[in-house]
């Protein structure tokens, strides 16, 4: 039995733990404010907040309920749009909380179907620990698609909400409840979660012979929704031993259930990759990053997985386990063919580790897609370089969307070693890279385009990492 708090009420269900949170909310709890737009995490109409206690602090994150298994909300607080409505009597706008009022006032709702998702995401911004900047307010709704407004009115509303939240200097929960931004019951949730989890033991009981391992579910539920609902699932997402980012000496160790958001918020990662936020923004959307795990990205084996490409360049190692024994595999050797892994069915990824870069290290991630954000790349690429003075002492170049697997371009990487940066070097590297790839034409671009695009992204790596080196002719065309 799955138990959690739904808005202000403790609730439980005997539905299979693989059932989707969205279907429970709408068709069993009859909370119809959470809408269905796409059932693949690409529109945000079904966004809800998930609250849990992390390091003895109540933490809320937005998720798309269409990809969230009930097993993953065991012992947590689930907030739908109904749970954000203030319990005030009154008429018209008196009934609106400030988030709702900002959207109302700016005319930021037209047909209204996407609106609850925006309200929930913006409430997530209010509840989050992040800096209450306008940029972060917008980031909180980067997974919400609106087909009516053109977003300008929504941006105006978000600005008002950010300004309201900037006035808070203390505890967020205290601020939002005492200022009638969110309902009063939020102030009691931390205690109630503690009680709930002491009763339920926190983690969903596992079946003896799990047929499916589940992380965040953002790929599995898109691809195998019907299968997953009734599958025997081992829920990895909430396991304490699979969470957390550790630094051991020069090694950075990620638990398999570390999400992209965890990565972005980690001080270790921020210190090592000051530009990581920029990378993060190119990967999916906030509600997806909140549940999508790094290990899940690896195992999904999409030839275009952003995180996979990133960690291929960093030469990450993965530790797979079957609960009895473990083995370590370089990520660069993990992929054996299209969607084929060096992993047996009973194995799951337990850990990922990589060497933290030193001060001579340079890293860049590039991605181009039809839509710059919340899209799957046409081609993506990462370059990791260690410099010894003016000489490249180590290079790792990876590229996605240019072959059946996420590719580590070993020949090109080897070629770059011990070389000095020059235009010629870049052009030669491009030519070698072209010999290593085998893109195909599909909905994300023609073969010809993907070849050209990878060349451009390799140029972009060098132009970004070596702004002082004269690389002008790399980006002019024959006429100039």
């Amino acid at each position: 039995m799955i138990q959690f708090i739904l808005n202000d009420k403790e609730t439980s269900t005997d539905l299979p733990p693989g059932e989707l949170l969205l279907d429970l909310i709408r068709y069993h709890k009859h909370l119809m404010g959470t809408k269905i737009g796409c059932r693949e995490g690409d529109c945000g109409a079904c966004t809800v907040l998930i609250g849990e206690t992390v390091n003895s602090k109540l933490r809320y994150r937005s998720v798309t309920s269409c990809l969230t298994a009930l097993g993953n909300v065991q012992g947590k607080h689930v907030v739908t749009v109904e749970g954000l409505n203030l319990e005030v009597s009154g008429q018209g706008t008196e009934k609106l909380n400030p988030v709702q009022h900002a959207m109302y006032k700016e005319g930021a709702t037209q047909c209204g179907f996407c609106t609850p998702g925006f309200i929930v995401s913006l409430a997530g911004f209010c509840l989050s620990d992040s800096d209450k900047s306008y940029e972060n307010a917008i980031a909180s709704i980067d997974g919400n698609i609106c087909r009516c407004t053109g977003y300008k009115s929504i941006q105006r509303a978000a600005k008002n909400i950010a300004e309201l939240m900037q006035q808070n200097k203390g505890d967020v929960i205290e601020y939002v409840t005492s200022n009638s931004i969110l309902p009063e019951y939020f102030s009691g949730i931390k205690k109630r979660l503690l009680e709930l989890n002491s009763k339920t033991n926190g983690i969903e009981k596992q079946t003896a012979d799990p047929k499916k391992y589940l992380g965040g579910g953002t790929d599995l539920y898109v691809q195998q929704h019907e299968k997953m609902v009734h599958a025997d699932i081992d829920f990895l997402f909430n396991k304490i031993e699979l969470n957390g980012i550790k630094k051991e000496g020069n090694k950075c160790i990620l638990g398999a259930s570390v999400t992209i958001t965890d990565l972005m918020e980690s001080k270790t990662i921020k210190d090592a990759f000051p530009d990581f936020r920029k990378v993060n923004k190119l990967v999916s959307s906030t509600p997806i990053r909140n549940i999508a795990t790094i290990a899940g990205n690896f195992v999904n084996a999409s030839p275009i997985g952003d995180l996979t490409i990133l960690f291929l360049a960093l030469n990450a190692r993965i530790v797979v386990s079957n609960e009895i024994s473990k083995r370590e595999i370089p990520l660069r050797e993990f992929y054996k063919g299209y969607k084929q892994l060096d992993k047996r069915e009973e194995e799951f990824i337990e850990q990922i580790w990589f060497e933290l870069p030193d001060k001579d290290h340079l890293f860049n991630f590039e991605k181009v897609s039809k839509r710059t954000h919340l899209d799957i790349a046409s081609v993506n690429s990462a370059l990791s370089i260690t410099m010894n003075g003016k000489i490249i002492s180590e290079a790792g170049l990876s590229a996605g969307g240019v072959g059946p697997i996420p590719m580590f371009l070993s020949k090109t990487s080897a070629f770059l070693k011990d070389k000095k940066i020059s235009e010629q070097l870049v052009n030669e590297a491009i030519e070698i890279a072209q010999s290593e790839i085998s893109p195909i034409s599909d909905a994300r671009g023609s073969e010809e385009y993907k070849r050209l695009l990878l060349s451009q992204l390799i140029k972009a790596h060098f132009i970004t990492l070596f702004p002082k080196v004269h690389l002008n002719s790399l980006f002019t065309n024959a006429e100039h």
Partner: protein, 763 residues
């Protein structure tokens, strides 16, 4: 004033089709669509699906009691395929089961044996093979053959626009509930309740008066639910008819994308001739419209392409011919702009091509040829133009000279990034071009407590029409909005409605509301006169009290109504409105089809990342002719939303069908609409106040469709930026201008290997 629906929207309390509480024993439907695009059905095997636990019944065309036909303009579209299939996804069978999950699973276990026939996806190929849905139509003005001889410059070319998925966030759906005496109550997410009712009656062979279609609101329509909502409602009704049980079907997004039609793609030829002063003397265009596998609304869409083929320009000699080409795609349909944008894109391409060849900016030609009062459109109507006002005001308030200088300077200083500017004037005719459709009705009741209910044929889908209807009633009665309730759109209350489309919904229905309210007020005046014992011609209500002129009386609105009721005065009014002046004769292709035109000009500025082939929009700055807006919040929302939707069509929204007619961009992961980061940094909208009288409700011009066409400016701005990087780049007039097309234009193939070689040479 804000949209009256927004309070329930933001609280998650608004009811859409899938939110209606279910009646007991409700069953769930799912359609089995053809797996291939064209062929003869040899055998349909539903035996395995029928045996599945929880499957109640599977319907095929054999179960249809009436006509198996849902074509609106041309009867060429069966509800369920009989012997042949004409597009991938064409409904062949309808499964009804105890749960949605079972229905979906049963659909997967249906098999079909089809003998394939040749698949056509290209409209030009269809035309070559004589596959036309209606005979071609031609609009002409002046004498095109003579005109060419007078031209100093003549340019020809091809322009193409792809389709566009509506992507209403609420998918198609319907819920049908049996009533006594063989009546059916139908909840449908439709823009055309009467279309649903009419076709349902024919398919089920029962009279229309037994079919109550009710629509509270839609989670977006954009034209996609004008005709294409019908099939799903009738499939549910067919099952309800046989089973006497409620049946519901809300399409999964991937079903919706695969089975429903989209904006019509067009491929067009153009020829443009100018004199030495850059006046356009002659324009000839041939439009090949990709209609898909059935007529649907395509013939009407085609007509509007012809109406708008010269956009906002006066051209004295025009010949425009359009072919409605039958292909094996899902029947394409209405989409905001309704063929207008497709026509305008072509003349904008022609102007861009001419400007490029002449080495000038396209805006020089655009500005010289803007419509003036009295200029004749190719269809005979005379312009009452605001085109120049909008353009000049835009140049002035947005400081175009300064802007151009800034862009020039930026482009000189930056190699990696280039900026481009474009102007996009628009002129859009308001009215259904089928004259008979320009009619609407409103039913207004005043209850004995003084509260008022209003029903019309207008469907609320986010455009704010309910708000405008409430404003009309509140204004005529001079009562607060809290006294007015707008009710659902219901075919038992309002009959024979035109669909909510053509931007005309607020005008037509609003005028009907206005008439009903005025009639009621007139009827109340004698009542007031009796009570107050004085003439009440100048009666109005203020703060709940009857005023005569500026003089307050003691008579409250409540007492006035109570007295009227006790005096047996009719407190209900049903009014009918049909706009005057509007007519069009398709035998000569001339007339006065539009009540009025809406004008405007948009300036678009883009920055292209010439290394990666991606772009961001700096600004879209608009001067728009609103007449006198009756609701600035709603109208601004329509402009902003329309611009972004139009830009999506021109930039990132790419519909991909393969040669077998299978949709490859079949989910939100492969079909991308604008997100919050992809919209212009700045959208400025200046409300041009125009004084001319018009037929709009309260002189507040229609605003639904026109702004979409500002988005066309995005294409030409990107194109200009590419040209700034690579002046001789061959950028095809092929929209959308995706990052792929941008990069391939920036680095043409023949130059690519050379770049690498030259780089070697430099070092």
């Amino acid at each position: 004033m804000q949209n009256i629906d927004s309070i329930t929207h933001v609280r998650g309390e608004s009811i859409y089709l899938d939110d209606i509480p279910l009646q007991q024993e409700t069953l769930f439907g799912a359609a089995f669509g053809s797996p291939i695009a064209h062929g003869k059905i040899i055998h349909l095997d539903i035996s395995a699906a029928e045996k599945m636990a929880g499957v109640v019944r599977i319907f095929t065309y054999k179960d249809i009691p009436g006509d198996n036909q849902i074509g609106g303009i041309v009867p060429d579209e069966p509800l369920l395929a009989e012997d042949e299939v004409h597009f991938n996804g064409m409904p062949v069978a309808f499964v009804v089961a105890e749960t949605n999950e079972i229905a979906q699973a049963a659909v997967k276990s249906i098999t079909i044996d089809i003998e394939p026939l040749p698949v056509i996806t290209d409209p030009r190929e269809a035309k070559e093979k004589g596959k036309l849905i209606i005979p071609p139509r031609t609009f002409s003005l002046g004498n095109i053959d003579k005109a060419w001889k007078k031209c100093t410059h003549i340019f020809e070319g091809i322009a193409e626009t792809n389709g566009q998925e509506h992507l209403y966030i609420e998918t198609q759906g319907a819920y049908t509930i049996p009533q006594e005496n063989d009546c059916i109550k139908v909840y449908s997410s439709t823009q055309g309740p009467t279309a649903v009712q009419r076709h349902m009656a024919a398919v089920l062979k029962i009279p229309m008066h037994r079919l109550e279609v009710d629509v509270t609101r839609l989670g977006g329509g954009f034209g996609g639910k004008e005709d294409q909502a019908t099939a799903w409602a009738i499939l549910c009704a067919l099952a309800t008819y046989h089973l006497k049980k409620p049946v519901k079907y809300c399409l999964h997004r991937m079903e919706d994308m695969r089975m429903t039609g989209k904006r019509n793609p067009y491929s067009s030829d153009f020829k443009i001739g100018l004199d030495k002063n850059l006046k356009i003397i002659a324009y000839e265009a041939t439009f090949y419209q990709n209609a898909g596998a059935a007529a649907d609304l395509s013939p009407a869409v085609l007509e509007r392409t012809l109406f708008h083929c010269t956009n906002s320009y006066f051209v004295p000699n025009v010949k425009a011919t359009a072919y409605c080409c039958k292909t094996n795609l899902p029947p394409n349909t209405a989409f905001r702009g309704f063929g207008g944008p497709q026509g305008m894109f072509v003349i904008e391409a022609a102007i861009a091509k001419a400007a490029e060849a002449l080495g000038i900016d396209a805006s020089e030609i655009q500005k010289k040829n803007l419509l003036k009062d009295g200029d004749e459109f190719p269809y005979g109507q005379k312009a009452e133009s605001e085109a120049k006002n909008c353009w000049e005001e835009a140049e002035d308030i947005y400081e175009i000279k300064k802007l151009r200088k800034q862009v020039k300077k930026f482009n000189e200083e930056n190699h990696l990034h280039k900026k481009g500017i474009s102007f996009m004037p628009i002129c859009f005719g308001i009215s259904f071009t089928k004259t008979f459709m320009n009619q609407a009705r409103a039913l207004v009741h005043i209850y004995t407590d003084g509260s008022i209910s209003v029903s019309t044929g207008a469907v609320e889908m986010g455009q704010g029409v309910n708000t405008k209807m409430a404003q009309v009633a509140a204004t005529i009665f001079s009562l607060p909005l809290s006294k007015i309730k707008i009710h659902t759109t219901n075919t038992f209350r309002i009959a024979n409605t035109s669909p909510s489309a053509a931007s005309a919904t607020a005008d037509l229905n609003g005028k009907a509301v206005q008439m009903a309210c005025i009639n009621l007020m007139e009827r109340l005046k004698p009542v007031a006169e009796k009570v107050l014992k004085q003439p009440c011609d100048k009666m109005r209500i203020e703060e709940g009290l009857v005023h005569i002129g500026n003089k307050k009386t003691e008579l409250t609105w409540g007492n006035l109504i109570a007295t009227a009721y006790m005096s047996r005065v009719n407190l209900s009014e049903h009014a009918h409105y049909a706009p005057p002046q509007v007519h069009f004769d398709p035998t000569i292709e001339k007339g006065h089809p539009f009540a009025y035109h809406v004008y405007g000009t948009a300036i678009t500025v883009v920055t292209v990342d010439c290394l990666r082939g991606i772009y961001t929009f700096d600004a879209v700055k608009v001067v728009h002719d609103f007449g006198t807006t009756m609701n600035p919040v709603v109208d601004l929302g329509q402009i902003e939303g329309g611009i972004v939707q139009g830009m999506g069509w021109m930039t990132m929204e790419e519909i991909i069908y393969d040669k077998e007619g299978r949709l490859r961009s079949n989910a939100l992961s492969t079909y991308k609409v604008p997100d919050i980061y992809s919209v212009p940094e700045e959208i400025k909208v200046h409300f041009l106040k125009t004084k001319k009288d018009n037929l709009a409700i309260f002189r507040s011009k229609a605003v639904g469709e026109p702004p979409l066409m500002y988005g066309i400016g995005a294409f030409f701005a990107v194109r200009n930026a590419i040209k700034a990087f690579h002046p001789s780049a061959d950028v095809k007039f092929s929209a959308p201008i995706t990052p792929e097309k941008v990069l391939m234009s920036l680095y043409p193939k023949k130059e690519r290997s050379q770049t690498i070689k030259e780089a070697y040479h430099i070092l």
